[in-house]
């Protein structure tokens, strides 16, 4: 009886039930075999804290701190204030002259910056701006984005509608391909000249180039989560 009890004690202390199976357990064993061991709460090796103290000293005063990149914020999803409250995001919103409400963010991009005359290919100069838009969409983990193209009043209505739709689609495709925005959350529309934000002509009937320039635009409406 006595020897049996001691055997049981030894088995408990050193057998598979024992939690002393933490640490660097590499032994060339197939990892799948390890799963049979009960290692739910592996004990941290006794020298781990000592090693950690040395490592911390070596890091110096900033303890190895690194700035959180925009990308990190985007990947993390930033659901609780990491991204959209960050200075970087707020700065970008300002740079894009975004209009923010409780539920949405609207970014208006000039058609003259995004596209060459009568074209719908994204100009290389516009890519940095679109990258920022992509960062904002990801930082807010937006569940829905509406991209709408608008034109001025020059030309046929039907042509303007088609051109504005193609431009909206170009922006969407660029965001998917280059900014990693999920295609499924974006919707595109082409409104042509039907929703001007400035008069295309002056009160005397003369042309208003500044007004028309404002109307040539792509609006990006980002829904907040």
């Amino acid at each position: 009886m006595k020897s049996l009890a001691w055997a049981a004690l030894l088995a408990f202390c050193f057998g598979p039930l024992c939690p002393l199976s933490g640490g660097r357990a590499h032994s060339g064993v197939d990892p799948a075999l390890q799963s049979g061991k009960n290692a739910e709460d592996p004990v941290i090796p006794a020298d781990a804290q000592e090693k950690a103290i040395l490592a911390l000293k070596a890091l110096g005063a900033n303890r190895g701190a690194r700035a959180i990149s925009f990308e990190t914020a985007g990947i993390l999803g930033v659901s609780k204030g990491v991204g959209f409250d960050s200075k970087q995001v707020q700065k970008t919103l300002k740079e894009l002259e975004a209009k923010e409400t409780k539920t949405t963010i609207q970014i208006d991009l000039s058609g003259d910056i995004l596209f060459d005359f009568d074209k719908w290919d994204i100009r290389p100069d516009a890519e940095a701006t679109l990258k920022k838009v992509g960062d904002i969409i990801k930082a807010y983990r937006s569940p829905g984005v509406l991209i709408s193209g608008h034109s001025d009043s020059k030309g046929e209505d039907d042509y303007n509608q088609k051109l504005s739709l193609k431009r909206a689609e170009s922006v969407r495709d660029w965001l998917v391909k280059n900014a990693g925005v999920e295609a499924g959350i974006m919707r595109t529309e082409g409104f042509g000249e039907t929703k001007p934000v400035a008069p295309n002509a002056n009160p005397d009937g003369s042309d208003n180039p500044a007004g028309r320039q404002k109307n040539r635009r792509v609006e990006i409406l980002i829904k907040k989560r």
Partner: protein, 155 residues
């Protein structure tokens, strides 16, 4: 049964109860799901600060019907100070190995790479620097697992 045998059995019983407590009565601070390995749930079971070092422990549970292989490269684990926008990777020893475990091997400073049988679980621990600005809470990021957000740091 002799009184001595009774004492030994009582000792063993206490030990078993303690062991069971460790395995089944663990407190869970927060649970997140693995994003790519089906059925793997990660419980944050402990967070301790000592000598400006944060030690975190997790339990990876396989809730799927089949065994699942889980790989976690320690080099991709970090904690984040949300307020000050800083992140901190795990601490490394003088051999360049992360002070974390259990490590299947030393690849990239060490990695957790184990098959977890259906219904089973495995523990995981990592040591990080305590964020220099002493935030009230941190986010803990394990690769492939949704982030553990707003985890309070005990002062």
């Amino acid at each position: 049964m002799s009184p001595r045998s009774k004492k030994i059995l009582a000792f063993l019983g206490t030990g078993l109860l303690f062991s069971a407590g460790l395995f089944f009565g663990q407190e869970v601070i927060q649970t997140q799901s693995h994003n790519t390995v089906e059925g793997i749930e990660a419980d944050l079971t402990s967070l301790e600060i000592q000598n400006n070092i944060v030690t975190v422990k997790f339990k990876l549970r396989n809730t799927a019907a089949e065994k699942q292989n889980v790989t976690i490269q320690f080099k991709d684990c970090y904690i984040m100070d949300e307020v000050n926008q800083k992140k901190y990777y795990g601490l490394k020893d003088t051999d360049g190995l992360f002070i974390a475990g259990p490590a299947y091997d030393d690849q990239n400073g060490g990695r957790f790479w184990y098959g977890i049988q259906a219904g089973k679980s495995m523990g995981l621990w990592i040591k990080f620097p305590q964020p220099a600005d002493n935030p009230a809470s941190i986010t803990i990021s394990l690769p492939g697992v949704s982030p553990f957000e707003s985890v309070k740091l005990a002062k």
